[in-house]
């Protein structure tokens, strides 16, 4: 561990920039956010009134906030459930012993380079009420006319599909890497023992992938909670009604557009509690895999 004894100041100097950035730009503002959440700021920012827990109490009673929370959870669940399902399926196919497997393994990466805003606009085109191919197909097949600018379901669907799409590259990459770490002998042993490929997958491969799955659940949750912001701001702005006003967008709108800083700060604290529990869980599982043990 100590490969260079006798340098007492150097290690501190080396971590100093990182620690400073984290302290100044992460910790201090968060502490201030907690402080802010106990105040109500006048609409034009000149008067601050201490209101105790009023912001929190109002949030808990607010039907809009509850709706936003439920929408976020539903969105998150679909992005993880459907997104990881598709990714795993493709990853399994692309790691079969077929010709050109290497090609497929990189052919899906590129969606990783798309920003949520870009993906949003691309899918807004697909969903466009007058020229969108997706809407046209849907109407031909079901007679149902989807309009994401007016239709809550349409907007939610647009954002969800675009999100699954954008995360696909990343998810597939990780599953491919995970699958390649599953020793072939194990699978073959299972096959020799008479298990079919389907059964072998579920009893051997899938459990072996659980660290990858846990990690991807975490990353996709972060996406669904935070990264999706750009897509929402460009395409739906939280609408129609409140259909796509997820928690992160609500904080932004309340804090910056509706000028309710205290209420937005209280939402930040709630959001922190949610993230902290998810992140805590992720770190706990990865610690068990001995990342920090040495």
């Amino acid at each position: 561990m100590n490969r260079f004894p006798g340098h007492n100041i150097l290690p501190y100097a080396l971590i100093f920039p990182t620690v400073t950035v984290i302290a100044v730009f992460l910790v201090v503002p968060f502490v201030q956010a907690i402080h802010m959440s106990f105040f109500r700021v006048s609409p034009f920012g000149r008067v601050r009134v201490y209101t105790g827990l009023r912001n929190y109490a109002e949030l808990l009673r607010s039907p809009e906030y509850l709706q936003s929370f439920l929408n976020t959870m539903l969105f998150c669940a679909i992005v993880i459930g459907v997104g990881l399902g598709i990714a795993l399926f493709i990853a399994v196919l692309a790691t079969q012993k077929i010709r050109g497997a290497a090609f497929y393994q990189v052919a899906f990466i590129w969606t990783y380079a798309m920003s949520p805003a870009i993906a949003g606009v691309i899918w807004a085109l697909m969903f466009d009420p007058s020229v969108g191919i997706f809407t046209a197909l849907l109407e031909t097949m079901t007679g149902f006319r989807l309009n994401f600018t007016t239709d809550a379901v349409g907007a939610f669907l647009l954002v969800t599909i675009a999100s699954i799409w954008i995360m696909l590259g990343y998810n597939i990459c990780f599953y491919i890497a995970g699958l390649q770490n599953v020793p072939n002998e194990l699978k073959e042993a299972a096959l020799v023992d008479g298990a079919g490929p389907w059964k072998a997958f579920w009893i051997i491969t899938f459990p072996m992938l659980s660290p990858t799955t846990a990690f991807l659940i975490f990353v996709n949750t972060l996406y669904a909670f935070f990264m999706v912001f750009g897509m929402l701001d460009v395409v739906t702005q939280g609408g129609p009604g409140q259909a796509t006003e997820f928690l992160v967008y609500k904080i932004y709108r309340d804090g910056f557009a509706r000028l309710r800083e205290g209420q937005a700060a209280a939402q930040s604290v709630f959001l922190f509690l949610m993230v902290a529990s998810i992140a805590g869980f992720q770190i706990w599982t990865s610690t068990r895999r001995a990342v920090y043990s040495r």
């Binding site: 609409p43 034009f44 009420p129 309009n147 600018t149 007016t150 910056f256 557009a257 000028l259």
Partner: protein
């Protein structure tokens, strides 16, 4: 690694070089929300100003929608990052007045030791933006709503294109006929639906809020639901049930339905007129008419929408001078006429209006006249018909939209409006409770 560092250094040096490029120019940032075809027109107008004096420059910056522009201004001011000049939609009027961040328009000439005749602006605009008889923001791009209709659709359905519907009952009737003859599936959409609700109140001399519609003092509560709003919503709901009224989204989103021929009629701002006519081209004949009414209620007036210009009270004297020159420029008949003819906004000055009439513009393009006739034929003598002034107007509109959306899906009108009223009253109370207006 090393080459990356080299690139980085090069970039840094270039940036510094750009930054130190000094000049005697006074450039004034101007935030605006002119989207669609209006963007290019605005840029042409600003270019015309910038060509005159290289030391006086206006820099137009699109800040997104009106709503965002307002929010960004209110958020940027306390940290000193606001622009000297900003375009704010009519919804932000009360908030801007209360903000303490602006110089009331009428004080600007005085501050520069100049005179300016505010009587040269057209009446409806002056009335809307005045407080105690003085203009608080500079008239610029004012509009109102009107009914757009597809005359070819009317003909195809056997309707007389010279007799557009004047009441909601007629809209419904016409709509059914248009559907039966297979011309369209949905007939009418509302641009800015929240605003259309406000238009209907004003059009029938009904108050939105108390205190003379928020013009005699801060509003404290909304003045509906009433028998009138029940009747109105019942008519709208009935139309929605028959598929005649389609809730087609907010702001300008119904425009594409109208221009592509999937809607026959649309209530929309006059400011969309030129954009729509350019998009439609020769595809069909666009005509315009007054906003439909509900029979049996008093006559009020259509209200002013669009936007006006505000000046930050942090603007320096040099900036103020550029801004005032720009205001003078905007009032020149040539500029004002160009602006009107290419957007559909009202000309702001009487001189421009006179020029347009003398040149026979309104005979040539009757669609540009409709809104004028509508607003000049209505009452002008109380707050109801001039339009409401509300501090938390932006949020209030959220609730109106929800109510209309729900009504369009068959919810009970009374219930949705009561819910909206309750939420808006809460907003009004909170606005006053935490107001820093004094």
């Amino acid at each position: 690694m090393r080459s990356l560092r080299f690139i980085l250094m090069t970039l840094l040096v270039t940036m510094l070089a750009l930054g130190t490029f000094a000049s005697a120019q006074q450039v004034v940032d101007f935030w605006h929300g002119m989207t669609g075809s209006r963007l290019a027109v605005l840029e042409q107008v600003v270019d015309g100003f910038n060509e005159r004096d290289p030391n006086m420059q206006i820099n137009p910056v699109l800040m997104g929608t009106y709503e965002e522009g307002l929010a960004r201004f209110l958020g940027a001011y306390p940290v000193g990052e606001e622009p000297p000049l900003i375009q704010i939609y009519e919804v932000g009027t009360q908030a801007m007045h209360d903000s303490g961040m602006i110089i009331p328009a009428y004080q600007i000439p005085e501050m520069l030791g100049e005179d300016w005749d505010f009587g040269q602006y057209v009446g409806p605009i002056v009335r809307y933006y005045s407080r105690d008889g003085n203009l608080w923001s500079w008239p610029f791009a004012s509009s109102t709503a009107m009914l757009y209709y597809n005359a070819d659709h009317f003909r195809a359905a056997g309707l007389d294109p010279n007799a557009p519907p004047t009441t909601w009952d007629e809209v419904h009737e016409y709509g059914l006929q248009l559907q039966e003859s297979g011309v369209v599936r949905d007939v009418i959409g509302f641009g800015w639906p929240d605003w259309q609700f406000e238009q209907q109140l004003a059009l029938h001399d009904q108050p939105y809020v108390d205190n003379d519609n928020g013009r005699a003092g801060h509003a404290t509560e909304v003045m509906w639901p009433t028998e009138f709003t029940d009747t109105l919503f019942a008519k709208w709901s009935a139309m929605a049930e028959d598929g005649v009224w389609l809730y087609a989204g907010t702001e300008y989103s119904p425009n594409s339905g109208f221009t592509s021929g999937t809607l026959t009629m649309m209530l929309q701002s006059t400011s969309s007129l030129d954009g729509i006519m350019n998009t439609v081209g020769d595809d069909f004949e666009v005509r315009t008419a007054f906003i439909p009414r509900v029979d049996g209620y008093p006559r009020g007036n259509s209200i002013i929408g669009g936007n006006s210009l505000y000046v930050s009270n942090n603007a320096s004297e040099e900036e103020l001078r550029v801004i005032f020159e720009f205001f003078k420029y905007l009032a020149e008949p040539d500029v004002d006429v160009f602006w009107h003819q290419n957007t559909g906004y009202f000309p702001a000055t009487n001189a421009a209006l006179k020029r347009l009439m003398d040149e026979g513009w309104f005979q040539e393009s009757p669609n540009h006249l409709t809104a004028f006739l509508q607003i000049l034929s209505g009452r002008t003598d109380n707050g109801n018909v001039i339009g409401s002034r509300i501090g938390p107007f932006v949020d209030a509109r959220d609730h109106i939209r929800v109510a209309m959306e729900e009504a369009s899906r068959g919810a009970d009108p009374r219930e949705v409006l009561e819910r909206a009223a309750e939420r808006i009253n809460q907003l009004l109370t909170e606005y006053l409770e935490f107001a820093d207006t004094q």
